[in-house]
Amino acid sequence: MSEAKIHVEEHRDDEASKLGMWLFIFTELLLFGGLFLVYSIYRAEYPDNFREGSLELSVTIGAVNTIALLFSSMTIAMALTAMQKNNKKLAIQMIAVTLFMALVFLVNKYFEWGHKIEAGLYPGSTLMSLLDRGHLLYFSLYFFMTGLHALHIIIGMVLLFICLFKVRNETIHNQKYVLLENSALYWHLVDLIWIFLFPLMYLIS
């Protein structure tokens, strides 16, 4: 008997991984889509209250956060380009910049929410229960939608941290970077949702 030649090939299909990530992104889009639908119905029903509510938010904080997210979206796309061009150092730097921008966003959010909570405005507070229906709906949606979005930021940061370490120890490399690619897609989704949240919550007044 001659020796059997065993050829071990790694089981992986990057194309399918990416399609899977997109399917997950679709569920996320519909999750936030449902919330935007609730927002638009109640906005149509209580236009004045929603207008007054959005005047309570700081456009400056919202704008700074928008720029932070847009910038981080570009840097994570650059990290992927760097990985494809086999530039490990630049990829690590770009992921680090993305994480820093995410932190800027969260710190901003902390002060924004902290200010509201100090003033007694948070879900379940006495002040909130005394508001009339339109205001109550606006602020409930504000806290729920920006809160859910912030949760996505935190999950995205965890994913990017994992990518950062994997690029460093070369588990993610020039020939195998689908994890970085999928994490980047998730990060762009977070940016995509904020593109709609910002004008609807902060600007239309």
Binding site: R12, D13, D14, E15, K18, L19, W22, F26, L29, L30, G33, L37, S40, I41, A44, V59, A63, T66, I67, L70, F71, S73, M74, A77, M78, L80, T81, Q84, K85, Q175, K176, Y177, V178, E181, A184, L185, H188, D191, L192, I195, F196, F198, P199, L200, L203, I204, S205
Partner: protein, 94 residues
């Protein structure tokens, strides 16, 4: 090998897209500071739509993805538009 077929977007292109997105953000802020009535919402959503399209086409590489994925993404937005339309019709005529 079917792996690593992803398109590489040049840094320069990504930078240009960011500049465009920043410009559109400032445009939204300045447009919504004027009272244009019902048009304010329409304009803000239109600009947001353009921004979302740019992010998906260039940052998320959809411009260079295969046709199946592009159709799937388009269908999700069509589905959402149908849901919105049906819900609003329901609210308007109940």
């Amino acid at each position: 090998m079917a792996n690593n077929t992803s398109h590489t977007t040049e840094y320069r292109v990504l930078g240009k897209i960011l500049l465009l997105l920043m410009f559109l953000t400032f445009l939204t802020i300045s447009v919504t500071s004027y009272d244009l009535g019902a048009f304010t919402v329409t304009i803000a959503l239109l600009i947001a739509g353009v921004k979302a399209f740019m992010v998906m086409s260039y940052f998320m590489h959809l411009k260079h993805e295969n046709l199946l994925l592009r159709i799937l993404v388009a269908m999700i937005f069509v589905l959402f538009a149908v849901i919105v339309l049906i819900t609003f019709i329901d609210y308007a005529y109940r």
